[in-house]
């Protein structure tokens, strides 16, 4: 009896508990997760994969299976691409300093890469890119190492891979990477040039130079590495180190003066030198010769006075002139067509055309293949070509060309057509900025592909079915397709929420590309002529991109434009490059090489009457140059000149210096736009105990919404919101190396907050036992920095918040209401600051690649830190976790304020990865762009890959979600209205009946 009484109670209790759990989980999901559902992937984000500029390529087309090409790139990527489409089968991104030296295929199933200066050899499985083995070789770093995979000696048996560099040769088994033998040829200063294997023999030949005048040939046993034979001879005029193997017994080298060729023939321990007279071939020859690497039997390519000569070597003493080629050009390596026949390709640029020629050694005068294609001029010149052959339907040889262009793009050309192309310059983005899209004009609909009413209704009906869980799997798929295809996000006009923008990126190749935020497609691209190699500028490189003109009020009819700044050469005193590009069309409006150098670029918060932003460029001689150079900008500039300050961080000298501009007494017409700097302050870190590790500042365009922070007990704290805060972290020089190189006692980390106008150190704190790498981000009145704590053996993140005490007496609400406060009074940074600092440290599990903070239009939304983790993902961490006021037991009022109880480490919630399941390989930087919608931030992160998404740190409180069913709302309204009418009619009827009763 008793039990039966109890049962309903327990059932109720269970139900209540269940309800509580559901409620609780709902609450948690509301507070914590900003994660996506599976079907939301790709709605607001896109991810593009790249590989970078290709250095080496090996084709794998022998078998009937997938045709592929294995490439290694300058971004340390080894990848396998589909030869038919250019898609990536697999790719592996090696470490930052693990540069790939060479790539090859061994045993027909392994991709072998030699990297890190010839010290690491790895084998990857060809079909899927899994690593099979890795071996580390003890190689002296001074010499360049090369890889030689022996051709299939005995099929089925274990083949050897030879790695040679300096005076040592390593032979490794291609099955498991074990070192089979190792030969240290006991001669100092030996540089092995080539290793080769004469046909069907057990002997390997190694040729090289000892010092500058001796030539050595070794014959080494393939099985054991024993030196069978060794011969040496010296040449009195010496060698410069360049050599080319022409035949199995003939090497052509350059002599020490680089003005003549020497052919070296060797056979059975006899070495003969022959000086080759070039004047027979080139009548008016003078100057220097360069030997070009052309791995082709019996052929030689030399460069004399900027023209290239192809020569055929007939004997030790005889050269025959074949062809003369002019710049720009590219050669391919030799491609064996059959046992006796070889072929190679020559590509030549002729304005916008490229001529392809394939020659075989049977007939060097004529070509096997001759094609011409039209090339987009925005791709620049050809840099590299790799050649591959196939058998055509008529059983002749056909050729494919894998071409690397000046803008780092990769193209496959076959039958005179571009089969596919990859924009791989985007793997090396240097800097980025954004531009608004044009406003949609009336009558000019950019996206004509709008659905008709029926389509629209059908779509919404489908959605309605989806929300009511009535849809079949097919319909669900259809809904997903509709959502992903939504043309709305790819329009070329400005949208109401500010989600659609152009991201303008500058790549290392000097190319500027505009990407649409909707799907990441390239809207336009331009290879800047000023950033291309030329006679006036031999080694240009791109520095930064800035917004130059953003029309708001005055110049509405003009397109916005961006400023690209570069430098000619790597020295700080190299002349600068200055280019202005239209943001909508990519047209170069203005381009010039500056007379001065560029060491610092300062966009000023001033614009001239055509809304061109004023920029101050500081050169290496500390002169400030004002741009744009017109009298109007000068007028605006003079008004603000006494309030312009800047600073420079001299990392090598361990100094930070602050400057202002010297007021100009008399105006010199020629130097009208040039101003002298005046040093105002300096901070010198003692070089024996501190070394600058990182500096960080607030973003120029960051907006702070509230200056005051209301703390728990109805108290107000004023944020110290100065745009001129500089965060500097210094580490002890002993602990500047890798983690583990210093003891905790030696390691120190100092954190500074510096005002860059007056040079005041606002706060200085020392972390014992902490060391770099340090990453920092500054926003509003706080800074968060990440470092390694040697004592705790963990990474740590610290936060410093800085508050202004001088305004602390403005607490009276009545004063604020009546306007009797001094909050609007101008503040001078020369006043002695009265600041209060709060800080706290937390453990953090991950090491960090880069850090950023979200930015919104008005700064109301709470902030999130974006952390680029070592796994190339982006983690969004709420700033609330990094609040210095967190305590173990927060008081009731603090709890109400939303202070989280103190924990010693920061939580990593798997749902808060904004990259969800994707990886932004080689992540370098994250850029946050405010959308017009206050709740939303656009995040663009780049490395080798590009990833774009939009996040809402406090969820989208100011808009309905995209999949909000308007149809459901409409139907509900219609039903309600109908119901009202029906009930009204019914009640009328009833009343009438009542009356008739």
């Amino acid at each position: 009896m008793g039990s039966s009484h109890l049962r309903p109670w327990t059932a109720m209790a269970i139900r209540a508990r269940l309800g509580f759990v559901i409620l609780l989980s709902l609450f948690f999901s509301a507070t914590l997760s900003t994660a996506l559902y599976e079907d939301q992937v790709g709605l607001a984000d896109w991810h593009h994969k790249y590989i970078g500029k290709v250095k080496h390529a090996v084709f794998h087309t022998q078998k009937t299976g997938r045709k592929r090409v294995v490439v290694s790139t300058e971004e340390n990527v080894v990848a396998s691409l589909d030869l038919r489409t250019g898609f990536i089968f697999w790719r592996n991104v090696l470490g930052k300093n693990d540069h790939i030296d060479q790539v090859d295929i061994a045993l027909g199933k392994y991709v072998v890469t030699l990297s890190s200066g010839g010290s690491i050899l790895r084998a990857w499985n060809l079909p899927d890119g899994q690593m099979i083995w890795e071996s580390t070789l003890p190689v002296s770093t001074l010499s360049k190492s090369s890889l030689y995979v022996l051709a299939n000696m005995n099929v089925g048996k274990d083949n050897l891979i030879l790695v040679f560099g300096g005076s040592s040769i390593h032979a490794l088994s291609s099955m498991d990477g074990q070192i089979v033998w190792r030969k240290e040829l006991s001669i100092d200063s030996l540089e092995i040039q080539q290793i080769f294997q004469p046909h069907d023999s057990d002997i390997i030949n190694a040729v090289g130079f000892v010092g500058s005048s001796e030539f050595v040939v070794y014959q080494i046993s393939y099985r054991t590495g024993e030196v069978m034979q060794q011969s040496k001879a010296s040449f009195e005029s010496g060698f410069c180190g360049e050599a080319s193997l022409v035949f199995d017994n003939l090497v052509v080298a350059l002599d020490a003066s680089k003005s003549s060729l020497v052919s070296i023939s060797f056979k059975n321990e006899v070495i003969n030198f022959h000086q080759i007279n070039l004047s027979d071939l080139v009548p008016d020859f003078s100057g220097k010769v360069t030997l070009l690497p052309l791995k082709f039997n019996g052929m030689l390519a030399i460069e004399i006075a900027s023209s290239i000569l192809l020569l055929r070597v007939k004997g030790a003493n005889e050269l025959e002139f074949v062809e003369k080629i002019s710049h720009p050009f590219a050669f391919s390596d030799a491609l064996p067509l059959s046992k006796e026949q070889q072929a190679f390709a020559i590509l030549q640029h002729d304005e916008s055309k490229i001529h392809f020629k394939v020659k075989s050694d049977n007939d060097l005068r004529n070509e096997i293949l001759k094609e011409t294609i039209q090339m987009d001029s925005q791709r620049g010149n050809i840099e590299k070509v790799f050649i591959n052959n196939y058998i055509r339907t008529d059983r002749t040889h056909g050729f494919r060309f894998l071409v690397v262009m000046e803008d780092h793009s990769l193209l496959l050309i076959q039958q005179g057509e571009i089969v596919w192309s990859r924009e791989d310059g985007l793997a090396s983005i240097v800097d980025s900025t954004t531009s608004e899209l044009p406003v949609e004009k009336e009558g000019v609909s950019v996206a004509e592909v709008e659905h008709n009413l029926f389509e629209w209704l059908k779509g919404h009906l489908l959605k309605l079915k989806g929300t009511l869980m009535l849809a079949s799997p097919d319909e669900v798929a259809a809904i997903q397709a509709i959502r992903l295809k939504s043309s709305e996000k790819n329009k070329m006009t400005r949208d109401h929420n500010g989600f659609r923008k152009l991201i303008i990126v500058l790549t290392r190749a000097g190319k500027v590309l505009a990407l649409h935020t909707g799907d990441g497609r390239v809207v336009w691209s331009v290879l800047l002529p000023a950033l291309r190699r030329s006679e006036t500028c031999g080694n240009p490189f791109a520095l930064r991109v800035y917004q130059w003109q953003v029309p708001h009020h005055h110049a509405m009819h003009e397109n916005p434009s961006v400023l690209v700044v570069g430098r000619c050469g790597h020295g700080f005193d190299a002349p600068g490059i200055f280019s202005i590009v239209d943001s909508y069309t990519g047209k170069v409006q203005n381009s010039l090489i500056l007379e001065h150098s560029v060491s610092h670029i300062m966009p000023l918060p001033l614009t001239d009457s055509t809304e061109q932003r004023l920029h101050l460029i500081i050169d290496a001689k500390l002169q400030a140059h004002l741009y744009p150079k017109n009298s109007d900008s000068l007028k605006h500039f003079f008004n603000e000149m006494p309030n312009i300050y800047w600073y420079s961080v001299e990392v090598e000298k361990n100094k930070i210096k602050g400057y202002s501009l010297e007021s100009k007494a008399e105006l010199d017409t020629a130097e009208e736009y040039v101003f002298q700097a005046k040093e105002l302050w300096s901070i010198i870190f003692p070089s024996e105990s501190e070394k600058i590790a990182v500096t960080a500042t607030r973003k120029m365009n960051e907006i702070v919404h509230t200056q005051a922070k209301v703390v728990a007990d109805q108290d107000v704290m004023y944020k110290y919101v100065s745009k001129n805060i500089l965060f500097v972290a210094t580490v002890a020089p002993k602990a500047a190396g890798e983690i583990g190189s210093a003891t905790p006692e030696e390691a120190l980390l100092y954190a500074y907050l510096i005002d860059t106008v007056s040079g005041r150190i606002l706060h200085r704190v020392c972390h014992q036992g902490a060391q770099g790498p340090v990453h920092a981000v500054v926003s509003e009145n706080w800074v968060v920095y990440h470092y390694f704590n040697l004592r705790a053996h963990r990474y740590e993140m610290s936060v410093i918040e800085i508050y202004d005490q001088s305004r602390a007496d403005n607490k009276d609400v009545w004063k604020l209401v009546l306007g009797k406060h001094n909050l609007t009074a101008p503040v001078s940074l020369y006043s002695r600051p009265d600041v209060m600092v709060k800080s706290q440290s937390y453990f953090f599990t991950h090491s960090v690649k880069s850090m950023a903070v979200t930015a919104t239009a008005k700064g109301i939304t709470s902030k999130q830190l974006l952390i680029g983790t070592i796994g190339d993902q982006v983690l969004a961490l709420d700033k609330r976790f990094l609040d210095p006021r967190r305590s173990v037991n927060p008081t009731q009022s603090e709890k109400e304020e939303g202070i989280i109880p103190l924990t010693d480490s920061l939580p990593i919630v798997p749902q808060s990865y904004i990259t969800h399941s994707l990886q932004v390989e080689g992540l370098r930087s994250m850029v946050t762009i405010p959308a017009k919608l206050e709740s939303t931030t656009l995040v663009f992160s780049y490395g080798v890959d590009l990833f774009f998404t939009r996040i809402a740190p406090s969820r989208t409180y100011d808009s309905l979600t995209e999949d909000f069913s308007y149809a459901l709302l409409l139907i509900t309204i219609v039903v309600l209205v109908a119901a009202i009418f029906v009930t009204w009619a019914l009640s009328e009827k009833k009343e009438l009946k009542e009356k008739w009763r």
Partner: protein, 295 residues
Amino acid sequence: MGSSRGRSLVLFTLSTLLLVSIAGGFQSDELLQDDEEFGLEGGRPAADPALSTPTRPPIRRRPDPDLLSGSPDSKSVQFSLEHQFGGSGFFPAGTFTARLKSWSHGGQTLTKLRFSRNALTEEEKGAFERLLKEDGYYTIRVPSNVLTAPGRDFVVSSVRARCIPRESLDEHFIIHTDGVNIVAVNYGSAGACQYPRMLKYPAKWSFTSFTVLKNSEQAPRTPTFAEELLAGEDGLGEGVKPPEKSFWAKYWMYLIPLVFIVLNAMTQAMNMPEEQTAGQSTQAQRAPSTTVRRR
């Protein structure tokens, strides 16, 4: 014996006092020493500021006993302050004196900083006035290392000259040190600097100096609480537990409709009798009309 000795002591002290007082009449710094003995913080130079000879320092702090005794683990160091008026070079402007204390673990720290300012010469005064007029920068510098010989680096700091004048020329130094190194010197007015800066001349052309020596703070150790961590492991997301709410905060959404319903019911209950009467009256009214119709 004892009394005679005491007497001689008194005599000796009296005579020295006399000597001191006489000498004091001639030497200004002795007097100032007295001045400072009474703890006149930021005491102003008694000498006429127009005097071209450098006056003795307005020293802020009391003399340090071990400055006189010269204890082995600390020694006195001096370094000079130099200033610049606009474009011209740097000129000596004063001297800082500090104690360099050596610690057993090998570190050295600067303590007990004192500063003596040279008085402004007529020429310097003119330069300062010009600086005030053109709203220029008054720049100072001190060596970045207090020990090493010349050829050393200097840390520089500047302020708009118009920020300094108040009653006298009020200045404030914050010297950030790291052992024997000076990382930075922050120089500025003693209080706020108004903006826009007005041209204003000081009543007294002498400096009133305030100096502060700052070493870096130690960051607090990261809190570690393993036991709480263990305890927290079973409750997922302990760190973000919602604050405990009051009864009203929890159940208001149920309570308000309840109150409405109750109110509604009450008003209905109140109206019920009225309505009944009203209904009766209408029926009563209607009834005759129907009767009329039926007729």
